[in-house]
């Protein structure tokens, strides 16, 4: 179209009207309402590695999505996850070397051959009835269980379709299996459009049933580690609901607010985590298995936005969470997708996260104090700040296909890392976490 000084008002008016007509996007589902769309294959390979010899994982994931026409969509996701490396067992570093038992075998069974002995921090020698493997940690080091390994397989399937003119329904199921954990979940959601599709209200429910079969059995929470008292297999369940509103704010901005609520009941403790008990000088006198309440109620409010900024797309979200364990959290997450032309884009990413500690979180226990009912030294329940900085590169080709590379760095810094007790001076009791995330992605339309 050439616009010059002599372009008549009629021609201009016509150009504008044509642009408006053809610019009006026919949503993908409208283009072939009775026809199916190509199969979308979205695959990714994640490599996650923490420093200091801690956890690393490789996780391939494949997602298949097929729109059979008229918005009837089937989705299937398969995930495989392999974890190796060391994971903190909850005990704090000590001036002296420490010895721990890995969870393995079954307890309370006599060991054939030479009985194993275990020396407690106070020097007491105990004969072990259980069949365990011992590992040692050097003075000053954060105790890591070096035999932490797991493999996980998960499968998800979902189906969504319209129900009448402005309503959509979806249902999905999930199954996963790990060496010590099995989960089955189902969720359903309903959404309805208003205001000429400018407003969408959705509601959903979520049901999850988990079976925990800790390696070596589930320890009786709060008991002395040395007793290695272990019980049978455990279970927990979760029931949750979500209520959300999506609103088109302007030509360039769409926003979403979600409120979620869920309750978990059952075995919520980490069977492999312990908490150090120290005397008044800070010297270790023993350990206890952690013990968490058997119910947990959580709520969160999430606000997400997508804003088109003249070529770039900004994704900005905020989430505020709280639960009855006393953990409050704030998350701010931002991504900016910058188009570089020729179907190439980069997307810098930054995330800030802050959480308050659980009421029953303790870095360690003082032997002099009364034993609390609930206790945990799991770093994930501590007060900390975390940041993520990353960059994604995407190269599109041949229509809707895309190759991508994402590299991110995740860091956690704990609030409480030291103690004034004599024997713990100068020790970093909670060094936090530093990890790298590398993800290769390939999206293909078949």
């Amino acid at each position: 179209m050439q616009l010059n000084k002599s372009t008549t008002p009629l021609r201009l008016g016509l150009m504008a009207a044509s642009c408006a007509l053809l610019g009006a996007p026919v949503a993908r589902s409208q283009v072939a309402p009775d026809g199916e769309q190509p199969l979308l294959i979205d695959t990714g390979l994640l490599y996650y590695k923490e420093d200091q010899g801690r956890v690393q994982t490789i996780e391939p994931i494949v997602n298949l999505k097929k729109n059979y026409g008229d918005d009837h969509v089937l989705g299937v996701t398969l995930t495989f996850d392999s974890l190796t490396g060391g994971s903190p067992n909850g005990a704090i570093p000590s001036r002296k070397a420490q010895t721990f038992a890995t969870p393995s075998g079954t307890s309370l069974q006599p060991v054939s051959g030479v009985p194993q002995t275990y020396t407690t921090p106070s020097g007491q020698v105990v004969a072990l009835l259980a069949k365990v493997t011992l590992y040692s940690v050097n003075p000053g080091q954060l105790p890591l269980d070096p035999n932490f390994h797991d493999r996980r397989i998960a499968a998800d399937a979902s189906w969504s379709q319209p129900m009448g003119l402005d309503t959509h329904a979806s249902i999905s199921g999930h199954l996963s299996n790990e060496l010590d954990f099995n989960s089955a979940a189902v969720n359903g959601a309903l959404s309805r459009d208003f205001n000429g599709k400018n407003t969408t209200v959705s509601g959903g429910f979520n049901l999850e049933l988990d079976r925990i079969n800790p390696i070596g059995g589930a320890p009786v929470g709060g008991t002395d580690y040395i007793q290695l008292l272990k019980g049978g297999n455990k279970s927990k369940n979760l029931v949750g609901g979500l209520f959300g509103v999506t609103q088109v704010m302007s030509r360039r901005w769409v926003s979403q607010v979600n409120y979620t609520y869920d309750t978990s009941k059952g075995y919520l403790t980490d069977p492999y985590k312990i908490i150090s008990v120290v005397d008044t000088t800070g010297a270790s006198t023993g350990y206890r298995f952690e013990n968490r309440p058997n119910t947990r109620t959580r709520q969160s409010v999430y606000v997400g936005n997508k804003v088109y900024l003249g070529g770039e797309v900004l994704d900005l979200s905020y989430r505020r969470g709280s639960d009855n364990w006393g953990i409050k959290s704030n998350t701010v997450d931002g991504r900016l997708r910058i188009d570089l032309g020729n179907d190439v884009y980069i997307e810098p990413h930054a995330r800030w996260y802050r959480q308050a500690a659980a009421d029953f979180y303790h870095l360690y226990l003082n032997q002099a104090d009364a034993l609390p009912t609930y206790m945990s030294a799991d770093q994930r329940l501590a007060e900390f700040r975390a940041t993520t900085f990353g960059l994604k590169l995407g190269i599109g080709f041949d229509g809707n296909n895309e190759l991508s590379l994402r590299i991110e760095e995740y860091q956690q810094k704990a609030a409480q890392t030291s103690s004034s007790l004599a024997n713990l001076q100068g020790l970093n009791l909670n060094p936090g976490l530093k990890s790298a995330i590398v993800q290769i992605g390939w999206r293909y339309e078949y």
Binding site: T8, G13, S18, A24, D34, G196, G399
Partner: protein, 300 residues
Amino acid sequence: MRDSSAKLAVESRDGGIVAVCFLAMASPCEVLIETGDVERCRALGMLAAKEAWRIEAKFSRYRDDSVVSSINRSCGSPVEVDDETASLIEFSAQCHKLSNGRFDITSGVLRRCWKFDGSDRLPSPAEVEALRALVGFEKIRWEPPFISVPSKMELDFGGIGKEYAVDRVLAELVAQFPAAILVNFGGDLATNRAPASGPWRVGVERPGSEREAAMLLELSQGALATSGDTHRFLLRDGVRYSHILDVRTGWPVPGAPSSVTVAGGSCVEAGILATFAMLRGADAESFLDEQGVRYWCMRS
């Protein structure tokens, strides 16, 4: 639901072009793609055909289940229309304004007395007057997304449906496969760019002869649309009455060219300009000169 796969014909043309042909909107349709991948072409051709059939089904006044039919049956009650229909109505409203009322999508009812079958049967003035009372876009109540069409009045998107389909299909195909593509639905065509071997070569029909191309045009980008009476006209006393009716009188526009082909940025724009030109009758050429567009007018 048709057995879609049987209705497509795929053939190779010179210059590395593959063509997919099918029938839609009562016209021979073809999609030309510069590619070596015949299977890809077939798939894209299927997409194009389905989209053409979808638009045809949705806006055809001959089908009971079309959006247009449900609007035409509504007897004055408001009908809620979807985004796409709303866009077309809005576009038609704009065109009605820009043409000072000459372009009117409610003029379809006039076909009840005007049957352009090449014969010499003209309607009586009384018949025409009776139907003219049922014409007038200003009588429609359009409050998006609700349209209220008074009883006995009708909407007809025949004047823009094919051009709209061409633009839509081209956009959809180019988004999927950014090669040089030309979409041609019975003479209304559009392309995103020329193939490496040179501009697309398009033939425009000459009135009176079905197949012999009157002229060969070269198109590198943009669209061409033709408004003409090659197949639909009445001949009486040596006067040719084209099927383009002047809604202000109810009679065919006097002195209209037998065919006008206009080049524009989009098929929709080109088509409307061609229609506007026909509606000007004897002034078709000077109107198009004024608009500064490339055109080809044929008068028999």
